[in-house]
């Protein structure tokens, strides 16, 4: 196995044994990026010399016997939705093409403190709006398992970077499935922590009440390691919760026994690809063989999850994105003849089609006369969706199902059909609306060789249990060991 195909945990022990150093590891990944990026297009910016400087600083620290962080020398790719001090942060938009934040996102600070090597910023759907990464203003990222297909989205760049072994770890953000869905389509592990588990400070907001940052990795152990680094309270985010962070990376290997798994019948409805269903059923067999009890549960209000999501998320987005007006920073249209004209031209030219569509939807939903019928109603249904989960978790440890109804689709296949695109998040959205934790882990491949993901959901702040349940399965299977040929 090549160095770049290893997990972060493996790289860490190689470094501890003195087999390899941070500079060699970083160099190996930079080389992979140089070789594979023309095909995969996962990254928006890679600053090779900066990455090498970080790596050599870590090697120096090690040489001097200094205490090193848990991710010492491990390259991590960052979704370009996260602000990095002094480095361009575009959010996949022309609007922020030249935006250089004067601050690091909280998770970036945590990564630096953990001595990780920030290797580059990854591609994404503009302002995290999309499920295929085709909405990026800059490039279309390819699925490393089939370059004609999408990697999922909106964190498609971060998922593809790990799947293509251009980085062992990456960070994404998940508003309606933007971590779990691309993880599923790229055959890797991706987790959306409970809302409030990870500080959103420095995460460029799409929908503030739904956004959450989370890890991508090859396996569950690495996911636990990265989550442990980024989780925890931050004074700068009032919605981040003051709660101790369990030692996920230590407990991840302990199976959950007894284990009751809930199967929501709504997750196995029409629209589910038979091959995906077959993989999920096989995974359930593995759990049964491990002694798990499997129960049917119902999440009746989840059928409203997609419409509720497209009201709540777009409403918040319409306000969150109002600040991009060409006045203070970011893109300003070159010619205009009045203030309003400057606003409309800057926003008209700076935003892409999907972003504009969602701003319009959200503005409409919040408008007087429509607010009660749309936004207020959506908030009520959101509460009912949460109550569905409360009931399910009262009798089950976790809830399972497919992450995405289909494997990766072809580039351009749904680009002109927003509704079809929105439905690719049908199983992931309710987790964000309920504010609970969710993970997608590899659970097989279709005949065409496309990865399939198993989604596991757990109650609020039950990440520890979620990781242990995921790891139980992973320990019995080898899907997570596969790497695409590139």
């Amino acid at each position: 196995m090549e160095l770049i195909e290893k997990t972060a945990a493996e790289l860490r022990s190689l470094m501890l044994q003195g087999e390899v150093n941070a500079v060699q590891i970083t160099e190996a990944y930079l080389q992979a990026i140089r070789a594979r990026e023309p095909k995969v297009q996962a990254f928006l910016h890679v600053d090779e010399s900066d990455a090498m400087a970080q790596a050599s600083a870590i090697d120096q620290k090690r040489k001097h016997g200094w205490q090193l962080g848990p991710l010492a020398g491990i390259p991590v790719a960052i979704k370009d939705v996260l602000c990095t001090k002094g480095q361009v942060t575009t959010c996949g938009s022309k609007m922020l093409q030249n935006f250089i934040p004067p601050y690091d996102a909280h998770v970036i600070t945590r990564l630096r403190e953990a001595d990780a090597v920030l290797i580059g910023k990854t591609n994404m759907d503009e302002f995290a709006m999309g499920s295929s990464t085709e909405n990026s203003a800059f490039k279309t990222t390819r699925n490393p398992w089939d370059l004609e297909r999408i990697p999922g989205g909106s964190s498609g760049g971060s998922a593809a970077a790990v799947a293509a072994c251009e980085a062992p770890l990456s960070l994404g953000s998940d508003t309606g499935g933007s971590i779990r869905q691309p993880a599923s389509l790229c055959g890797i592990v991706g987790m959306k922590p409970t809302y409030g588990r990870v500080s959103r400070f420095g995460l460029i907001a799409f929908a503030s009440s739904l956004d959450q940052i989370g890890p991508f990795s090859h396996d569950v152990t690495d996911c636990a390691l990265l989550l442990e680094v980024i989780a925890g309270h931050d004074r700068r985010d009032s919605t981040s919760v003051y709660r101790p962070v369990p030692p996920y990376s230590k407990t991840v290997h302990t199976p959950v026994k007894p284990l009751t798994i809930g199967l929501p019948r709504e997750f196995f409805d029409e629209g589910l690809d038979p091959e995906v269903n077959a993989c999920v059923q096989e995974a359930l067999k593995v759990y049964r063989s491990l002694g798990a009890t499997i129960k049917d549960v119902s999440l009746p209000y989840s059928r409203y999850a997609v419409p509720v999501y497209y009201i709540v998320a777009t409403a918040e987005a319409s306000s969150n994105l109002a600040r991009y007006d060409g006045v203070h920073y970011g893109f300003r249209a070159p010619d205009f003849d009045s203030m309003i004209h400057m606003y409309s031209r800057s926003r008209g030219l700076g935003f892409g089609k999907e972003v504009k569509r969602r701003i319009m939807l959200g503005t409409y939903a919040l408008s007087s006369g429509y607010y009660d019928a749309y936004y207020l109603k959506a908030l009520k249904v959101r509460r009912l969706i949460k109550e569905d989960f409360d009931r399910a978790f009262a009798e089950c440890d976790v809830v399972m199902g497919p992450t995405s109804p289909t494997p990766a689709f072809r580039i351009g296949e749904k680009a002109e059909n927003p509704l079809a695109m929105y439905l690719s998040d049908i199983y992931t959205i309710s987790c964000n609306l309920a504010g609970i934790a969710g993970i997608s882990i590899p659970c097989g491949f279709t005949k065409a060789g496309l990865p399939v993901g198993l989604q596991i959901l757990a109650g609020p702040f039950e990440e520890e249990k979620l990781l242990r349940v995921a790891r139980m399965y992973e320990a019995q299977t080898d899907w997570h060991l596969r790497r695409p040929r590139l």
């Binding site: 420095g202 408008s367 607010y371």
Partner: protein, 500 residues
Amino acid sequence: MSRPTPYTIVIGLEVHVQLLTRTKLFCGCSTQFGLPPNSATCPVCIGMPGVLPVMNQAAFELALKAALALQCNIASFTKWDRKNYYYPDLPKNYQISQYDLPFSTGGGLEITTPHGPKWIGLIRVHLEEDAGKLLHDETGRGGDSLVDLNRAGTPLLEIVSKPDMNSPEEAKAYLEELRLLLREIGVSDCEMQEGSLRVDANVNIRIPPEHAGGRKPLPGRQHVATPIVEIKNLNSFRAVERAIAYEAQRQFEEFQETGKQMGEVSKATAGWDDVQGVTIVQRRKEEASDYRYFPEPDLVPVEVDQPWLDRIRATLPELPAARRKRFESQLGLSAYDARVLVGQGLAFADYFEAVARGCGDAKAASNWCSNQVLAVLNERKITIREFPLSPEALADLIVRIRKHNINAQRAREVFGIMLQTGDTADAIIKRLGLDVSFDTEQLRELVRKSIASNAKAVADVKAGKQKAMDALVGFVMRETKGKAPTDEVRRLMDEELAKV
């Protein structure tokens, strides 16, 4: 005073005051006035991508303090909302404010009117962030406008009154009382010049049917009511008074022409031109502006429990209204005197109380404070804290004036010397030889002597020439080298003349 009009003015005021916090409402930037443009800013208050607001606890507590002083009902659960609108002085293009669940509702303030005290009710008090300032090219050549975001994010209290005021004078009295209260409790410095107090006035008039030129009130109303106009940019209390008076008359005249009543046309906004002394109606809002309010997802709701409220309440000083009542009931002052003393602010009223305690004569202390002391403060443009005489020194003067029967004019002379030299009243009185005391019988003897020696003057007084009294009193004053208390001499003179 306004002249009688055939209509009643109805006024509701929306007052914005900046809170006296060290830092802004949702970030750590300074709120100091007058810093170089954009120097008191950070990624949060200039609305950069990905940053988040964090509520300033001190600002919320000051707001609670104000609401308690205004006798509002404090909500146990309150939340933040976004008010969405585009303007270059609003970096996020939304303002974090409070919409349907403000932290306080109700309450009010008592003002003094010529007809007695009047309660002005409040609808609500809520907390929000201020916007920045735009600096436009004043040359008229259409240059770029500049934005200064130092003010953006400053905590702002919005105090919305009921339409309970019925004259420009009442509006002014309300603002004065509100300013006094907020200053006393340390919530705001209420400096209109610096923009820490801003006023918008909602004005319309009610016309009794007999003056409505044959137009009938709309169904359900007893009066004809004109459409409400909101007057913006009122930058002094005087401007508030003048603008309201002007606008009321303008509405009356407009009504004669158009006959339009409230509800028939929408609410309008007007500006006030202080130089021309006119309101300028800018636009009629076709419908209420659509600010697309929704709950602010970046902040958590605030829960206010009783212990917290009790803790804030304990920090409140005696409020002006209560103090005025105490001055009247406990110290026997007139309502007018109590208003003057309390109206000068906490420190002044404290000074007065110390003087009153020291001399044991509240009425005399009140006269000295609201006349001589206040005159000196105004003349020297100083505050009571900088006034050179301690309350003990002034109390001592008052005691000695009484003891030595020193007349008002000489007393003022002693006061003046005390201010100049810093000497004690005792020393100055001795120096001037005023420390002689005359007993009444001694004076009465001199009065009788004066009457006996001035037959002509006595006759003149009897004939009704009061002027002649001066000669009789003057005799006694000469005999005592001017040290006799004139008032007492006059009183005795009246008594003795009556016997003649």
